[in-house]
């Protein structure tokens, strides 16, 4: 470890704000980029599930896989 104290780590001889800002923004972008597709996937799969359930109910659970009519 190069630094002696947590305060020194934070301060980095005056360069702390720059270094930490750069890492902070990067972390923010990475988290955003990770969360967006995950949220989208979850939203999509939820939509597919509800659609499926609705159709199962409508067809009285006799739906066949793959043999569905294309959208009207």
């Amino acid at each position: 470890m190069y630094f002696e104290s947590a305060a020194a780590v934070w301060h980095m001889e005056g360069h702390g704000p720059y270094v930490w800002a750069a890492y902070g923004i990067t972390a923010l972008v990475i988290i955003l980029m990770l969360v967006m597709p995950l949220l989208r996937s979850r939203q999509m799969s939820r939509a597919i599930h509800t659609e499926e359930r609705r159709r199962d109910l409508a067809q009285g659970r006799t739906s066949e896989e793959g043999q569905h009519a294309p959208e009207a």
Partner: protein
Amino acid sequence: MWTFVHKMGSPPWFYRFATIVIRWLLPTVLLALLAGSVWGLLYAPPDFRQGNSYRIIYIHVPAAVVALAGYYVMAIAGLVSLVWKIKMADTAMRAVAPVGAALTFVALVTGAIWGKPTWGAWWVWDARITSMLILFFLYLGVMALFEAYDDKAAAAKACAVLSLVGTVNIPIIYKSVDWWYSLHQPASIKFTGESAIDASMLYPLLLMIGAFYGLFALLVLLNMKAELLGTHRQSAWLRSELR
């Protein structure tokens, strides 16, 4: 080999493949990013001239390297889509663009932040920063073109053409910006050969570059999966996959 390529082109197979890879990649990448950052921030020595501000190199350089490589990945996907007409390549190309743009953005912002303590200005028309800015424009162009087309199959083909043109252009752009910069600012005048970086600083940098490559792959796979869920929502395989 061919069977592998063929399998990659089939959405159900790819979906399963991506799910497995993501399961492994996600923790590995996060761990590597964390380890590399801690190493670079806390354990690597400061630079003899720039002091601690150089620690930004551990995100700036990896982001820039991967952002540039990402453009080539996108162009290769475009080529595959144009030549072999594999739909999956369209999806890949579409997924790479925002990831590459985000990494370019990271490189630009961290470069600007680095510039403040080093050069005394937030934005400096440095050769590499300027090249990154143009790369950012190239990514934005591809994304804008994709959005402009209503027919997404045609959009993918158009973006493929554009990204291939960009690929031919990128080395020329980089070289020209380098010369431009040398005309107005001295490029680092080297008489000792390659620019040198001390081993104690290099290893965390290499780790971070690896981690960013992993991050890139992870983000692209996540985006592709999300895209598949959207386009194949009517497919039986997807329904059974989600059950």
